[in-house]
Symmetry: D2
């Protein structure tokens, strides 16, 4: 099936393997008239790039995006936007071992089980490099959202046992700390923890939180297309994500109705909520307060410790992974979370244009 | 948009409001030749029914299903199966207060924001009664899965602060305790906790866990249609669900790669995992071990304590909810979790039939 | 697959067999706020009903529609609209012969080939009664279109060898002649032709033309979702339809570019076309002139002459069809053509709301 | 909306403008294990290429395809196949006139009406070059079909007033005559007709017929996803196509049931039809006989005669088109018809794998 296609109106199809010729995405359904340049997209790809700090793989990937279609005289035309990023840094020799045996925590075994064989070079399509296409498309979605008054901001809330202190929350720090933590002190601790992990030939996981501001009330569709469901799907579609929590998330299970309900109150003539335990949705529709959700990232499965596994011939073997791998992927995944959130939200905002008869009538009255 | 339509091949469209004439679902894409009777479906609807224990609303709903199409001489024909459940127990007078003001924790405000008005009777389409159609369709999906060797079993893991002891796990208890907890002792404690909540005019939340056995490796599609993503979406599409965790879930964030990776080992000639931290997927595809995931349910928003809110005229008011409401919806949501899991999994199993060229060649060779 | 689901935003799922309990449709994605009553829909169902003239089957079907959900206080709520029509007039005994052998021109053999068996009562899901759900949904789409200034008018252009004279075109006649021909004289000739067919135990086909007025320019999507493609698909999805022609249709093949091109000209400050050979689209998008297309309907396959065929046991047999069958289905299909056209056009008009960035910006500016 | 995305399981997204950097397609949902090389695809692109005969534009386009992803060690991996064709021969200066005024018969006006502006270079996305991506994807679909025993063969039936004589039908001629007519004598006449058109600065249309052999009975889905509907949509989605006829097509309207019905008969133990008026479908499902359909192509709208039109400023002007244009596009469209037919049919064959419960049971029994 079309496992690499996403969205109903703002529809994207991503493609490409870790060590193939290129990766990319086709955006089918972008409105016409959006000013768009390669720089707009490059900005986000650069946030995803490895090799930028001591806590990411020293592998260099220039990841330069090329716009191949859909933009004319600096603006989108309404036709498909094809974005391509050539692969330049693959060292296939590093990965030859994977061809014959199944790395624990990776998709080697399941791809073989599904397809009968796999592109084993760097994980092929199951590599984190697959997210390049998501980020390129996400950059376009984020630009559109910003023009609609909606901002999406993700950051690292925790790495291993180190969590940020929300009292020290400094949004400016997100893009400057190597961890993407908005708390310089916590970030320093997390870096120290990661160095220890690296010494132990081990890896770490973490938590990414995301806040969306400016979303009007009523976005999302009842029942199966709830905004919460769209975000949960978007997050769990990212390789190493293991959980999704909306608002209070797992804490809601232990609270009481009187604690969990957010009281409504009038504020400057608008309906507001006094608290935001719900995380910005009610009944699957945005409620006008900030969206807030979290997602947990598992530790990088590529560790340098010897591990027990089996090979394609059905023998028990020990594998010792070589190569260049991030001790934690959380910081690089932050922009992926933003991208997927933007894609999910934009599509629902576009669908919402048809929610009332009066919207259609107003729109077509002048045509 | 089609917010009430779900699935790609096994596609369902649910419909109906809490206090409308009826609720139902159309299943479009059910394979031909499945023996199917109203009893097969009624069994699951009865598990969702209220009024069965002291911890659910005393509201009686007979919820009898009628098969209107798609079954001939006891077997599905391959054409749409229309299932209808007539509403019989609505007391519209109970809900007149909702018409004018927004209940905290409910979708009253967001539906008004989206649509300009709403069917306020019992929450209309945002009511938990909406899940009737899901359970009816889920019953069909569960029957198909069982014929393919796949079983889906959900249960209550916690209610408020009371969790089950996995050491006492008794699957037989699930359908006999009023809490759907597979641990009679924990269930008794939870019931006691719920009685306290009721005395305080308050409500409770909880945790539902689900285990799927018998799923072959390779189900799911890489990238956006990961099995994890499909389950996350399915769960968060259920009204009161606030989180989704796959396998170790949020715990993965704090663990190390060496702890989180599941080693592979040969067992009776088959590839097996020694542990199952991943919850049964790798790279978004089933890995041959049990699927395991959890989901948190928020406390019932309908509490009898006075609450602050606003009305449609934009005035701050105090609301005191009347009527018959569950102090906790967790036990009744267990069968909804099973249903949604089944719908998500079956669709991906059907899509998987086309994953290899040899499957198509074998299939069409004899035609 | 979901063969009975149609549309992207205005999505419908039809269900029901000729001799099942009922037929119906779920509309998922109807905008909120549309005034809608059962009478609005009944009007169109009545046009589809048999038993009204000497040239349709004397079978009486009251075909009363019931709105089961999605309408509150006389207006659509934005949630699924479930429409049901109970079957009341089935005489299953008439059809027992079909169970064992394959009627020429019918779907008996192909359904068996696909599904292994079939609901043989009256053709089951392959019966023309299947269009009941389309007409019910189409009535809603037509009502929306009319509020957007778009009208859809189909009529019979030919029955057998008898064609209307466009010089005598009288739109008022469409709903009054038994043939739905807008030319009383041609209609009388066609009726005479049909009586001859009936005497010969034979049947006739014909041509339905359709004109859509008021559609603004730019509706449709380039490439695969062309307005022409959507209409072609919609028409060929109707049981007995064998062709689709846009504008000049097959005549375009023999003309020259200088004859076929429609010159543009300014008219009252608007871009207009001097001719309309294209039938109202250019590049798959509406061009502001009337849409015009035609479709051919094959003769009713149920004829009373003996016919050669085979039975399920693989024996050559002669079949002589019994029962009550229309000598021509063209007049009853006219409203089906309007319905399908409306469903195709409305969906593309809804999708078009997102075609320009400025539309989204204007829409969300005030929210 | 996603106007450039097509298919449910075998899903493609095409992209690219006439004078952009490149054109291409992403195939999402191709089964794993298909041997695939660039040569397999180039073969079909070469059939679409212009500049090969006196009756096509002398414009040279090398149209070399590059496989960017989804193929490993010569076989498809099951992940997206990205195919790109770089543009090399654009002469943008030829087209500057189009920027300011609307060419009759082209999409200039409708694109402006929809999107507010357009990529005017060579028609941008509305150019016939858009079909490059379809043919590249179609080549893959055709290769899969051939391995399933299904062949798709299109050819030119008529150009202007010159039709082939089916008595002289020579399939070997299709790929050798410049007209793709399977009748050398008719082809010579057509060439002569086209030379006359060129002298008159005019252009011609024609008819393409297509025959599909080897399709088993039962392919297609009842109601909206009929095989006929899928083919009609596929054909009308091709730029210049104005009609679709299944089997006898428009002739069915004038025939009687006794003439139009195809009698069934046993032949070597199999159900066969004595005639094939239906064109190979019954009730929207393939009936085991050859599929046969036709489609009319309008004359090339780019003619060198002066034409009346309007400009973007709303003034009436005369346009005289310059550049290199085909006097007829029919021969080059033949491979596009094959490609679209293959895409439509393959998707339905894949969907059909889930039509019976026993198919799923057999498939999953061994897993």
């Amino acid at each position: 099936m079309a496992g690499s296609t996403y969205g109903t109106i703002f529809k994207i199809a991503t493609w490409g393997e870790s060590h193939g010729k290129a990766l990319g995405v086709v955006i089918d359904g972008c409105p016409a008239g959006l000013p768009l340049s390669e720089e707009d997209i490059q900005l986000y790809l650069d946030r995803r790039k490895p090799g930028q700090t001591s806590i990411s793989t020293p592998r260099k990937e220039s990841d330069l995006v090329e716009i191949l279609s859909g933009v004319f005289e600096g603006r989108t035309t309404g036709t498909p936007i094809s974005l391509m990023i050539r692969n330049t840094s693959q060292k296939s020799s590093d990965y030859s071992q994977i061809a014959s045996c199944y790395r624990p925590g990776h998709a080697d075994y399941t791809f073989d089980a599904k397809y009968g064989f796999r592109d084993y070079r760097g994980g092929g399509r199951s590599s984190g490099r697959e997210t390049t296409g998501r980020v390129a498309a996400g950059a376009v979605a984020l630009k559109i959202l910003s023009r609609l008054g909606v901002s999406v901001c993700a950051y690292t809330e925790a790495i291993g046992p180190v969590s940020i202190d929300y009292g020290r929350f400094d949004p400016a720090a997100i893009l400057t700390t190597p961890t993407c933590m908005p708390d310089a002190e916590a970030s320093a601790k997390a870096e120290s923890y990661l160095r220890d992990c690296q010494m132990e030939k081990d890896s770490a996981g973490g938590v990414i939180a995301c806040r969306v501001k400016g979303l009007p009330a009523g976005i999302g569709e009842p029942v199966f297309e709830k905004l919460d469901a769209a975000l949960a799907r978007a997050m769990l579609s990212i390789g190493a994500v293991k959980s999704f929590e909306m608002g209070d998330g797992t804490l809601a299970a232990g609270s009481k109705g009187s604690e969990n309900n957010d009281a409504f109150v009038m504020e400057n003539g608008c309906v507001r909520k006094k608290t935001n335990h719900s995380g910005g949705t009610l009944g699957g529709l945005s409620d006008g307060s900030d969206l807030f959700f979290k997602t947990c990232i598992k530790p990088t499965p590529s560790i340098f410790k010897p591990q027990e596994t089996v090979n394609r011939e059905g023998q028990n073997v020990t594998i010792q992974i070589q190569g260049r791998h991030d001790p934690v992927i959380v910081p690089r995944a932050v922009v992926v979370v933003e991208s997927m959130a933007a894609l999910a939200i934009l599509d629902l905002m576009m669908l919402n244009m048809n929610s009332r008869m009066e919207y259609l009538e107003n729109f077509y009255r002048d045509k």
